[in-house]
Symmetry: C2
Subunit: 364 residues, 2 copies
């Protein structure tokens, strides 16, 4: 059977995975190694799966240099469930949490917090349709926030924080890193709690990675259901109930791939190369315009661009689709095009995109 | 490459899947059909995945004869999260929910309800270590419960309800059907809300099927986070946020397999055949004793048995392990052995188990 044709997949998530990961997963569906039982069919309490989840944790600690005072947890429900779990556990009645508003996901996160306490908008770029990351000097915190929350990369609008915000006083920094986790080196000591849905840089959808400073457990401010209590996952090592075993297995394979690429420094260099090449073309093009201006926090993960004319956008999308460049349509909030260039997206796909843009531009 | 050796996998969950399902999943990892994008890599908003989730829902409706007034939902977090979502949405302050206590999972479910209201134990077999399903005449409901909850099959103790409890008054019936969903014909009209983790009869871990009467949404009794509100899944057709796409895909393949087997009547006949063969042997054996007496609600899914001597149990487990019969060790709450015979478990594995038991018995 010939290998199936693979297109370039610019999807914003679930997204492209390394081919070597897919091949390895495929080899273990009927039997994980020599166990005679497929990887999806193993009990989560058995040695083979426990070895997988422990290896996944160890790789995360190694790749991102996560020390023991941080717990590495595997949850379900996506970042959207974290939007609620975070305030449910850590925003006391009468307390305030600060949110940096840089896109739709920040807003959704803040909305869930309002069920439990007050929220303060520390900064916002909503007036200009989230076309930039506000500067540190535009950010004003409340007096004594429980935590400061930000979205490190904004998938829809194509912006990305270049450095972390610095929370005031005793507040901890909470981050939705779903769309740029492990895309660049990470200094976890700046964070209290970082979470990420896996389906962009880490694996398939259905697994949420949470890295949290363990002493935060002492700040839990109300009784919460067992499955919504971070303590359950810390104490049960993410095995209180049946975790998404196959998702964690694929995540482990992706982490092995990241390590084999040279870890986060090498991944970062590759991501810079891919995005820079595309932004440089966009800055020079007379047809395509980048949605985010230089200096406004351009994302290395999601490069958004428009022609300014809907019909031309549609014609371009059709043009590249025929050339095997898939899922380039931008989110309806921005329109135009969005090229998601997550870790596993191959540089050759960027070259092919740029070549196609030039060809399209020349044909007009 | 030769096909890997497959052992007989008696795991209680995650559990054995049909080989044809694993083969089909394997063929679509690199490219879902001719799409040029692997099944795990497709956007949940794209046509190929939307076709998958719609087909999964249609198959569930067809196989289990689910009418339109019921919603078919795909969630995350397992049955354990449902333990909390159910009372959070439907047990009002000052209200009471009735729980039929037939095992550890019933107890865990009731524990979560206590955060929101009162619970009433309608019946319990805890005094005899959950060795039976209490009879309907042993069940006493509270005056006006919000709902009545039961665990249709008790994985750990090997018991299974033969008929549904009948809730009093306006209460609806809620069921954790994780370990016997679609193992026999189902009359959904008896239920208000039925939920099941997928990892026994439906697919891999990480997907929770919820089937609920849509008019129950009107009974929501408090504000809850978006991701813990059933309405979010009904209105968003389980696509409010990124669902576990690969898990839903495998679930769809398992549903296709169930349909190809002849649907629930044929699956039920096969399950009866497998379990009956094993129980008949256990009732006659002088070495092995069934953990659940005849007439006490023996499970077709999990057949528990002991020799009464820990050393003999251990020797037997070693004996069968060498013969490719895996994961037969019982849960520590019961000890001995547990043969989980979910839908996908092949009848030939039961025959091999019985032959090995005879051989072991004769060798003593």
């Amino acid at each position: 059977m010939p290998a199936p044709l693979r297109h370039y997949n610019f999807s914003a998530g679930p997204a492209v995975l390394p081919e070597s990961v897919l091949e390895e997963a495929g080899r273990n569906l009927m039997s994980l190694g020599e166990t005679g039982v497929g990887v999806m069919e193993h009990s989560h309490r058995g040695k083979p799966f426990v070895a997988i989840i422990e290896r996944a944790e160890a790789l995360i600690r190694k790749i991102a240099n996560i020390p023991d005072e941080y717990a590495v947890l595997f949850l379900q429900g996506g970042a959207s469930l974290q939007f609620a779990m975070l305030p449910m556990n850590f925003l006391p009645d009468g307390g305030t949490a600060d949110y940096l508003m840089t896109g739709s996901w920040s807003k959704k996160a803040a909305k869930e917090a309002k069920l439990y306490g007050a929220t303060h908008t520390a900064c916002s770029s909503e007036e200009t349709n989230f076309d930039r990351i506000p500067k540190p000097e535009e950010t004003t915190y409340s007096d004594d926030p429980a935590y400061v929350h930000f979205t490190s990369n904004n998938t829809i609008f194509g912006t990305q924080f270049q450095t972390e915000p610095t929370p005031p006083g005793d507040a901890f920094l909470a981050c939705d890193a779903s769309s740029d986790i492990f895309s660049r080196p990470l200094d976890i000591r700046k964070y209290g709690l970082l979470y990420a849905g896996a389906q962009k840089n880490l694996g398939p959808s259905g697994v949420t990675l949470v890295v949290m400073r363990q002493d935060l457990l002492e700040r839990k401010c109300r009784e919460v259901p067992t499955m919504l209590d971070y303590k359950t996952y810390v104490e049960g090592r993410s095995l209180y109930n049946t975790p998404p075993t196959f998702g964690i297995y694929v995540l482990m394979l992706v982490l092995e791939w990241i390590e084999a690429q040279g870890g986060l420094p090498a991944i970062y260099a590759r991501n810079q190369l891919k995005a820079t090449r595309l932004y440089e073309y966009l800055d020079e093009s007379s047809l395509f315009k980048p949605a985010v201006a230089k200096g406004n926090g351009r994302s290395l993960m999601n490069v958004c661009f428009v022609t300014g004319d809907d019909a031309t956008d549609a014609a371009f999308l059709e043009f590249v689709d025929q050339r095997g460049l898939k899922t380039l349509k931008g989110h309806r909030s921005v329109g135009g095009m969005r090229a998601s260039l997550y870790n596993a997206f191959p540089p050759a796909g960027v070259d092919k995109l740029i070549a196609s843009m030039k060809e399209f531009e020349a044909s007009r």
